[in-house]
């Protein structure tokens, strides 16, 4: 099955970031996004987000048919504002993580992941 990168998906991701941040300016320090450089199987790509002091972290796959991946909300008993999971990537693209910090500011990290076999088709 054909799985082409969706044109305009990056714009959709940008829209979701704007919605999350309310249009506030977004810094680039204080958040770490860990992704593999190359993912042979786009069906299960390990990622980790870590943003000490964050209230929530939005994760987007800018080149998926829909960019939304997950939102991690950290409660009072979170031992760290860090989480790992496994995600689907349709093809080579940027994964973006945006953290809302306790003081209401926002920071983001963006990593490119090269995907050998896409993980959204069927």
């Amino acid at each position: 099955t054909l799985m082409l990168p969706v044109r305009g998906a990056m714009a959709a991701a940008d829209d979701m970031i704007a919605e999350f941040t309310g249009g506030a300016s977004v810094g680039d320090s204080g958040i770490t996004l860990t992704t593999p450089e190359i993912a042979e199987n786009g069906n299960t790509v390990p990622i980790e987000v870590d943003a000490p002091g964050a209230v929530s972290i939005l994760v987007l796959a800018s080149g998926n048919p829909t960019p939304d991946v997950a939102t991690f909300n950290f409660g009072p008993l979170a031992g760290a504002q860090r989480a790992s999971t496994r995600i689907r990537l349709a093809g080579t693209q940027d994964v973006v993580a945006v953290a809302k910090m306790a003081d209401g500011s926002f920071v983001q990290a963006r990593n490119t992941v090269k995907v050998t076999i896409g993980g959204c088709g069927g």
Binding site: T1, N43, T44, V45, E48, A61, N64, P65, T66, D68, V69, A70, T71, F72, N73, F74, G75, P76, L77, A78, G79, A80, R82, A83, S84, T85, R86, I87, R88, L89, G119, C120, G121, G122
Partner: protein, 109 residues
């Protein structure tokens, strides 16, 4: 799809008061994305777990909103602060309305 769903959790049985511990969770679920098509070309409807929460003695540790881009058998690793002995409660919410729960007790020692 409420059949064959099995939650698994790895959490320490003991912790020091105030310690941050690593929790790992996995739940067997196909996470049908709603993007795939069957052999006749019809879209297979989305059926995913859309929310996961973990609480300790009624206080929240983490609350995750999941989209279809989370892989089959959703896996999460995160850290929890253990202020006192108690129970850690894990809850997964399915698109079909099913709720899957499991719990672990943690002692102070």
């Amino acid at each position: 799809m409420a059949s064959g769903v099995k939650p698994r959790v790895k959490a320490p049985k003991k912790a020091s008061a105030g310690e941050s511990v690593v929790i790992k969770t996995l739940i067997s679920h196909k996470m049908e994305s709603g993007q795939r098509k069957d052999s006749d070309g019809n879209v297979i409807p989305r059926s995913i777990i859309n929310r996961f929460t973990c609480d300790y003695n009624g206080q929240n540790i983490i609350d995750v909103a999941l989209a279809p881009a989370i892989s089959t058998n959703p896996y999460f690793e995160f850290e929890a602060t253990i202020p006192e002995a108690g129970e850690m409660k894990f809850t997964w919410y399915d698109d079909d309305g099913s709720v899957y729960e499991t719990a672990k007790t943690v002692e102070i020692g």
